[in-house]
């Protein structure tokens, strides 16, 4: 199982190294790889059905509870089949679609990497590992949306989706860490074992909310849904694969994964189903007024994602069964429709609904395929979509608590969906033929194979759903809920409440469709109402917030990173001395361990000389005098070191002092004449700052004598210097043995400083 990920990884980078003859067929090769993986997973279905989970665990960072754990159970199986199966068809389709664009190597690499990351996501049993794959899919989605990077709108949409899904991902990580801290593990199995503890913990609600932010942003739920229509800037295969069949379902996957752990509580049911129901309604409502083919599909996708979230939120046996089935249904029809939309755009050069019409004449096969998919989307018999809708209604009827609200909104949104599906078919394929620049055709088998197979699946599985239920959906259910339920799918359920709801939906939907077609004004009025009522577009709000955020950052950067070296130093010194003064006042102890024993006169004399030198250097108006007197102070200090028999320190001090003076002298020749440039006030200010800093450092040095860290570490050094480290020079032994890490750090700092000086002085200055 883990080898599939590795193979995918090799395949995605391998296409760069293909010989020229094979390079043309790279999409086919990748498609074959996907198909092989699909077959592998399909073969293992029986093993999963017998509830035997395949498990792999490699310790990665055990200290952080981060292990590479993969699992292939019913739930992962459902998603793995979708990812590889639809992936195989998408690559086939992309071969035809991407033919005329440059840089396809990169495109296919991203797409293949994406499917590897997505597979990793659904297979990982460790939530932190899953998070890593989760973010990887966000990144790859960014690259794929911005594939046509010459277009500004594509770049903008890519950024928007990256920001939103990335932000959600981070929130989710925080949630995972919070909840993980309760059971002390990130493995999903440990979470399941400790489910009761987690649900009763006070961290449950914050953790749940954070994880839900991640789920909702990834799966385009309200109020994050607006990135999905923006992401339609991507090439059609990407929209079809990432933004309808797989990536946006990652949130659904996570909800299903976590449902046994976090589900069943009131918070879970109400928050998730409310957001789901809202998203469902918003999606279908806005789908109607869209004029762009892919726009319609994007909003219907939002609707479908809302339905899925709602079903997982309701959290009953029935609803989860419906969700698992709908996952397939939606993937089948929506991937098909996206591919069809891409094909139409390719052949006619437009995606605008108003510029299309009568395509049935030119593209009959496409019409049949699209019709099957659209009927499935509308939920009409005998397609798979109908089965799904029946199950969903059943789940909604039985939903606890908010059944009436959910049911009313659910029926309303399905009425919209029926109308949109019919409207789509009517406007694009039937009616008067629009004028096209060149005659559209449907040449290119690769274009039709993918959507064709998926549309056929919608039909065939709709008629004979038996195996899908028992072989694939039942094992998945057993992962999500404890009770084992039989999944028997059939078209005819008898005359019951659900049947009449379905009937009503269809009738109302067709009526709405008729009204939209005959009364042209209806749509216009509708759009006008929308533009008034929903005058605040969420993506504009988002753009505004991002814009302001950047502006504030710029202001802050300008204020803090002004580029004046003197002010940087000023800031550092003022801040440090303030902190130190504060600490001094907190302690309020003015005892210093000074013993005023008489020192030999030469030491007192030395101190006077050092003081005099320091004063001279600060008040002198000649640079040479300043430097030399600083040197005098330095040598004086080294003499004091010598007096206290710190020979090594004294030697080092002398050498450094010499070097400093020499370097100053060297620079001195290059400097302009000495001039007083700063005003009296600035100098006065600097004087006080320097004085305060010097004073506090003096106090610090005097206090340091008093601080007695017990037991004194220097005793240890002295005792063990020879016996353990074979050195008589304790200073050196400390430097190279006891505290070698410090020395390593110091040497590294020196190197960095030297590199900085080198770069500063060697690079030619460029006017900015």
């Amino acid at each position: 199982m883990q080898y599939i990920l590795i193979i995918f990884l090799i395949a995605s980078f391998g296409i760069f190294f293909l010989p020229n003859g094979l390079k043309k067929q790279k999409a086919l090769i990748l498609s074959a790889v996907q198909l092989a993986a699909f077959t592998y997973f399909a073969i293992r279905i029986p093993e999963v059905t017998s509830a035997e989970t395949k498990f792999l665990m490699v310790e990665w960072i055990p200290a952080l509870g981060l292990n590479i754990e993969f699992v292939l159970d019913g739930l992962s199986m459902v998603f793995a089949l979708l990812i590889t199966g639809i992936g195989a068809l998408i690559f086939l389709y992309a071969k035809a679609y991407m033919k005329s664009y440059p840089g396809t190597d990169k495109f296919f690499m991203y797409l293949m990497l994406f499917s590897a990351a997505m597979l990793g996501l659904v297979l990982s049993a460790n939530l932190v590992l899953m998070f890593i794959f989760w973010e990887l899919t966000s990144f790859l989605s960014y690259f794929l949306i911005s594939f046509f990077h010459e277009k500004e709108s594509a770049r903008k949409a890519a950024f928007q989706s990256l920001y939103i899904t990335g932000f959600g991902g981070l929130a989710m990580l925080a949630g995972i860490l919070l909840l993980g801290s309760i059971v002390g593990s990130y493995s999903i199995y440990d979470w399941m074992d400790g489910a009761e503890t987690i649900r009763q913990s006070s961290l449950y609600l914050p953790g749940l909310l954070l994880i839900l932010v991640g789920v909702f942003s990834k799966s385009a739920q309200f109020p994050f849904h607006f990135w999905l229509p923006g992401a339609m800037q991507a090439p059609a295969p990407v929209s079809s694969y990432l933004h309808s069949a797989t990536m946006v379902k990652a949130g659904i996957f996570l909800l299903a994964r976590l449902s046994p752990v976090l589900g069943g509580t009131n918070e879970w049911i109400y928050i998730i189903s409310l957001i789901g129901v809202l998203t469902m309604l918003i999606g279908s409502y806005f789908a109607i007024t869209q004029t762009d083919l892919k726009g319609i599909l994007a909003y219907t996708t939002i609707n479908a994602l809302g339905v899925l979230v709602l079903l997982l939120g309701i959290d009953t046996k029935e609803s989860i069964k419906a969700a698992m089935l709908f996952l397939f249904i939606h993937a089948f029809y929506k991937a098909t429709l996206f591919m069809v939309a891409g094909l139409i755009e390719k052949k006619t050069g437009t995606r605008e609904l108003s510029k299309l019409g009568g395509l049935i004449k030119y593209m009959p096969f496409t019409f049949i395929i699209a019709l099957l998919a659209l009927l499935s989307m509308a939920g009409l018999p005998p397609l798979l979509g109908f089965l799904g809708k029946e199950l969903i209604y059943e789940a909604k009827v039985q939903s606890p608590g908010i059944a009436s609200l959910v049911l009313v909104l659910g029926v309303t949104s399905n009425v919209f969906m029926v109308a949109v599906s019919l409207f789509f078919a009517r406007k694009v394929f039937l009616g008067k033929s629009a004028t096209y620049e060149k005659k559209p055709n449907e040449k290119g088998m690769a274009f039709l194979i993918g959507p064709g197979i998926l549309a056929l699946l919608s039909l065939v599985l709709g008629l004979f759903p038996g195996d899908l239920g028992t072989a694939v959906i039942k094992p998945a259910l057993s992962v999500v809920s404890d009770e084992v339920v039989d999944v028997k799918l059939k078209i005819w359920h008898g005359f019951n409440q659900v049947f009449f709801l379905s009937l009503f939906t269809i009738v109302a939907g067709v009526t709405l469709f008729w009204a939209m077609l005959k009364r042209k004004k209806l749509l216009e009025i509708w759009r006008k109402i929308n533009s008034v009522v929903f005058s605040v577009e969420l993506d504009e709000v988002f753009a505004w917030v991002m814009d302001k955020f950047v502006k504030i950052s710029q202001l802050k950067t300008k204020a803090v990173q002004h580029g004046y070296h003197r002010y940087y130093i000023l800031t550092i010194i003022v801040f440090t001395s303030l902190l130190l003064w504060f600490q001094v006042f907190v302690i309020r102890s003015w005892e210093f361990g000074i013993s005023f024993t008489l020192k030999p006169f030469y030491i007192s004399g030395l101190a006077v000389i050092i003081l005099a030198a320091a004063l001279t250097s600060s008040f002198s108006r000649s640079r040479i005098v300043t430097i030399i007197s600083m040197g005098v102070a330095g040598y004086g200090i080294s003499l004091i070191f010598m007096y206290y028999s710190a020979i090594d320190l004294a030697i080092t001090q002398i050498l450094v002092e010499t070097l400093t003076v020499v370097m100053f002298m060297v620079i001195l020749q290059k400097l302009p004449r000495f001039a007083v440039l700063s005003s009296k006030r600035t100098r006065l200010r600097d004087f006080f700052i320097a004085l305060s800093f010097g004073a506090v450092m003096t106090i610090l040095a005097l206090k340091a004598v008093n601080v007695n860290l017990s037991p004194t570490i220097s005793d240890y050094f002295v005792e063990n210097s020879y016996s353990k480290a074979f050195g008589e020079n304790v200073v050196n032994v400390i430097l190279v043995d006891f505290r070698a890490l410090d020395t390593l750090g110091e040497v590294t700092v020196l190197t960095i400083a030297a590199t900085g000086v080198f770069l500063l002085l060697k690079t030619k200055t460029k006017k900015l």
Binding site: T652, L655, L659, V666, G727, E728, N729, K762
Partner: protein, 138 residues
């Protein structure tokens, strides 16, 4: 400044400086000295020569000498970690090799000494790089 006395002195004293630098490095473990001091001394030798000839211009192929010194020094430091790791100890544990030598007695070679050599070269490189960068024409 173009003093023949200084130049002549520099010619010979330079080597004295370097000899002392190496001495300081070697005796460092038991007597005052060590890699840091030795490195500064050796760096000063180079600076001294430059001062005497009033020029720090070096031949083209010598331009990268400081970088090589720094890189070599840091690499030597890394190398000094190897023995402790190979023996399975905590990193930076001192490992000592005792070689009995006739006449002198016993020669102790340890990984801390290798570490000190690394510091020695890094400090030389850093010093020279400072001075080179400050003085060379752009």
């Amino acid at each position: 400044m173009n003093s023949i006395i200084l130049q002549l002195a520099a010619k010979y004293l330079r080597w004295l400086f370097i000899i002392f630098a190496v001495l300081a490095l070697i005796r460092g473990h038991n007597d005052p000295g060590g890699g840091f001091i030795g490195g500064l001394l050796a760096g000063l030798a180079i600076v001294y020569r430059g001062l005497a000839y009033d020029t720090f211009q070096v031949k083209e192929r010598m331009q990268n000498i400081p970088e090589w010194f720094i890189a070599g020094g840091l690499f030597t430091i890394l190398l000094s970690f190897a023995p402790s790791l190979i023996l399975g100890n905590t990193i930076m544990t001192g490992v000592w090799l005792k070689i009995p030598l006739p006449l002198i007695g016993e020669l102790k070679l340890g990984s801390p000494f290798l570490f000190d050599i690394g510091v020695f070269f890094t400090v030389i490189g850093v010093t020279v790089m400072f001075v080179f960068s400050l003085t060379q024409k752009r």
